[in-house]
């Protein structure tokens, strides 16, 4: 089995509103696959169709070689799911919640609840209730809960949304550890850095459309410019200097009288020449910032929109 998930021409409407518009992609076994997009892009709807919570209006979805409409129960037995906002029973402790969740699965696939808690580093809180956990711990616990049936495929809906940077890194590490044990992971995120750090391949969604599917580096390479050099100078550049930069196959945007963004089409070679030119021309600069192209730029280029309004 090379493909954990195959989605073909999937459509989902809510009345006239098209939540997912004719998308197709596949997830390879063993990879961490990310669906990146802003809120309302259709990520959660797509996941809920995969999870069997929603039925598609058209298209086919195959998970672990099983059709979602024909074998929902078999699929549910073999996948682990973390919902976007899953709380658990208020009046049970962590160990009890995992025990009861385990009882929903066939005996053969049940994981030992205590082992699972150890795996996510929550065993010391086994007798506490969910509400006493911190945000990061809660999220680790919901991931733990999704592992209770020894899943072959793990589906995580925005696993780090609302967490502080340290907790996010913790979760990334946990997801990577889980993936190393051979579990395919599909996750949604609207964090560009998360997609970059965690995902081997990405699908970019916007407004129900699937815009691109590829590895993060290929997605970045698909852009015309590979580096942006932000340059703030003491005196505005003269024409000769601008001309010499243009010869580097660059695009120069003037942000203000003495601030420029120089977008370099070629890779490190032209970056090298540009920097040398700046030195030989004796350009006095206050600030020089070199940023490789990011997924944010890819998203902007592909959709014309910012990925996040409040970054």
């Amino acid at each position: 089995m090379d493909e954990a998930i195959r989605v073909e021409s999937l459509k989902k409407y809510y009345g006239k509103f098209v939540a997912v518009d004719d998308i197709s992609f596949n997830v390879r076994s063993g990879e961490i696959f990310g669906i990146l997009g802003p809120n309302g892009a259709g990520k959660t709807t797509t996941l809920e169709i995969l999870e069997g919570l929603l039925s598609p209006n058209s298209g086919t979805v195959t998970i672990l070689d099983l059709d979602i409409l024909k074998h929902p129960k078999a699929i549910k037995t073999r996948i682990g799911v973390q919902l976007q906002s899953s709380a658990y029973y208020d009046y049970l402790n962590l160990l009890e919640i995992l025990t009861i969740l385990a009882s929903f699965y066939p005996a053969g696939v049940r994981e030992n609840p205590a082992d699972i808690l150890k795996r996510v580093n929550l065993y010391s809180k086994a007798n506490q209730r969910v509400k006493t956990l911190s945000g990061g711990e809660k999220q680790r616990f919901t991931i733990a809960a999704s592992l209770i049936n020894k899943p072959e495929l793990l589906i995580l809906d925005e696993p780090t949304t609302g967490l502080d940077p340290r907790s996010r890194r913790n979760i990334w590490q946990l997801i990577e550890e889980i993936n190393k044990t051979g579990i395919t992971v599909v996750l949604t995120t609207h964090y560009m850095d998360e997609a970059e750090a965690l995902c081997q391949r990405l699908a970019i969604m916007d407004n129900g459309h699937l815009i691109a599917v590829d590895t993060p580096s290929n997605l970045r390479a698909s852009l015309e410019y590979q580096y942006a050099v932000k340059l703030t100078v003491e005196k505005p550049l003269n024409e000769a200097q601008i001309l010499s930069m243009n010869s580097l196959n660059a695009k120069i945007e003037t942000k203000s009288e003495n601030a420029y963004v120089i977008k370099l089409k070629d890779g490190t070679d032209s970056l090298d020449i540009l920097l040398k030119n700046i030195v030989t021309d004796n350009v006095k600069f206050q600030n020089l910032e070199i940023t490789p192209v990011t997924l944010e730029d890819v998203f902007l280029e592909l959709t014309g929109n910012e990925l996040q309004e409040d970054l």
Binding site: L53, Y89, L92
Partner: protein, 351 residues
Amino acid sequence: MIQLTLYNLKIMSRNRHSTFWALFFPLLLVVVFGLFQVGNFGGATVTIVNNSTNDESKELIDQISSNNFFEVKQIGSTEEALNQLNNGETEYVLTIPPEFTYNMNEALSLQYTDQDPQQNEITLLMLSNFLDRTNTASPNNNTIQTIEIKKPEATYFDTVLLGLVGLGIMTNSIISIAVKISNYRNQSILKRMLVTPLPIWKFFASEITAHLILAIIQAIIILGVGILLFGASIRGNPAGLLLIILLGSVVFLNIGFIMSAWTNSPSAASGMGNAIALPMIFFSGTFFSATTLPWIMPILSEALPLTPMLSALRDIGINGYPIWAVWQDIAALAAWIVVTSVIAIKVFRFN
């Protein structure tokens, strides 16, 4: 599923809100009514039917009246006095024979119910002493002929106690399930269930089973406190009572499921549950008979599901009717189960 049911019971036992409605609130009412009932504890109400007109009979009555233990009422007709005894308005009926003298041979008659054997003994002893002490010079010939009546009618407390069983089960079933399911939905717990291979009917079956077990425990505790602490007398066939309790419970659980679907938050569900439960408590005759209500209320009362439940509980528990004698109430409850199930299935939503 058994495990899920057990966990549900565990959750309930840890949930103060549900424990309050299930146990504390109805028990509080049992205690209130129980204390109200035994407010004159330590004394006995005696209705005297005096068939004699002489001074000796008056002397006897004065003696009895002057004792703090007795509250004495006089009445002319034996029939009326026995009526009072049956209604629970009086506890003893003492009949003084015509031409009463302290040393006459004719016995006085004392009638009472079997409700409080201890008090019966004390009363009999004290009354015998009055007859004895009055005239120590002459030998005492008076005796008291006692007639113990099997209590045929319920006391008000018995009636209320069964009403409270219904009240407790109703409020708990409606409110706790409405709040719980609403909570589950708000916290995506229902959704979380749906992504597991657990057949969803098992989820509902275990919720219902757990609540039915709770309803039985609730009924046992309420009846137990009423009977053991406050001397209620509930006869009747326990299996019959159990059947009615379970049927009623299912109706109210269904109503709870419906409430949870019609509201968006646990607090709204709680409010709506109360809004349904509280009027029903009064209109279904929990505390007083609905037939005495004005206007179309008595007819309205018949249209509520708590009414047949209470009526069947009382017919079985107090009047000792067999199950088949309350078939109309059972049919009404069954109809309610069908109707509420259909609505519940139709309106229930997971999101």
